[in-house]
Symmetry: C2
Subunit: 219 residues, 2 copies
């Protein structure tokens, strides 16, 4: 075997490697993830729901994640610099109230909300919530929701990822991007979907037709 | 030379290739690109400037690109669904008036503005511009500015890119992303900077400390 043959072998390996890199087949296997844009919304504790609406939350329509719903209630968010009206309240009630807004909203309200995963509200700013009947001030709980992918254990096996793993996601919208460090959340009650917020959707030129591909968290 | 030696050679090649891929050294060479967030703004024709302000544009302060300036004038943008006040007018005057807004702005104004490079306004929607003294309706010229990198011919040689080439850009903000298809614009009068809009900045969790790295337009 001479040097020419070795070169040929190396070249063949490189071509195969190139094919693998280009198709990113190890992780995505060409299955696409639906994209949902989370508009600003509020989760209320049962106590705050009662204070603001005089009754428990009522379901208006179901959301994509099983058990979650859009309630009939709407609230005004009051910040030091501005207000946002008609903000959706989601149900069911949670242990603690939480407000999820975009960075654009945060700037308009005059609140320095950090990017956090849902539930991780320690040390976040508070805000004032107002219904037509009452006002409640929460001391913390305002976040800019960090993007994440909901999936079932079956989906996780398919994509070869684990719960809490961070992946990259290709979004082929009008402004194509790769979102990095996207948290995977696995639960048998979840339905497969990538959740991004309004700023991310606008920044990526995304709409309901945009396709998302999971790839490894590099590049 | 037996098969073990060949395997070793192939393995060495793969390791080197991995190093190259990881460091992305071919294009970036570790030089970073400053990031500027373009707020909504207006370019006016000399005629429209006169109609709205009764005099030519006056410089208030210089902008990063040599010769470009923030003028002393501010205008109200009036769309079918909303208005935006106090919008900056940039100078010097151009051949044609052009309004650059974010997708968030476009939604608030009620205008379907497409993502376009500056100057490419054919078939774009119009809008009403109002000063304290006058109103001008432009028939087209409202765009969501497509992100781009200004650089000199020297910069282009350094990054090994050409004028009008599209590259990817890593933005290591609070929400790390790779922007794809970013247009490179080369001119000896330019200063090196990546221009993104407010939605992109919010979507990427960027501020003035965010670093941008140019990489090849793949992955």
């Amino acid at each position: 075997m001479d040097i020419t043959e070795i070169e040929q072998i190396v070249r063949n390996v490189l071509v195969q490697l190139e094919d693998t890199t280009t198709s990113e087949s190890t992780c995505s296997r060409e299955r696409l993830v639906p994209v949902e844009v989370s508009a600003r919304h509020i989760h209320l504790s049962a106590e705050h729901a009662l204070q603001l609406f005089g009754k428990p939350l009522e379901q208006k329509r179901e959301l994509s994640q099983p058990g979650q719903y859009l309630s009939t209630g709407r609230l005004r968010l009051i910040g030091p610099k501005g207000v946002l009206d008609n903000v959706a309240v989601l149900g069911p009630a949670r242990g603690k109230s939480q407000v999820e807004i975009s960075m654009t909203d945060a700037r308009n309200l005059g609140i320095k909300a950090p990017v956090r995963q849902s539930g991780d509200t320690k040390g976040t700013p508070g805000i004032v919530l107002a219904s037509s009947d009452n006002i409640v001030a929460i001391e913390e709980g305002v976040i800019v929701a960090a993007r994440h992918i909901h999936m079932t254990p079956d989906d996780a096996r398919h994509f070869n990822v684990r719960d809490r793993e961070k992946v990259s996601v290709h979004l082929q919208g009008k402004r194509p991007v790769v979102l990095r460090d996207v948290l995977v959340r696995v639960n048998k009650n979840f339905r497969l979907v990538l959740h991004i917020d309004a700023d991310e959707a606008n920044g990526c030129g995304c709409d309901e037709n945009t396709t998302a591909r999971i790839v490894k968290n590099k590049e």
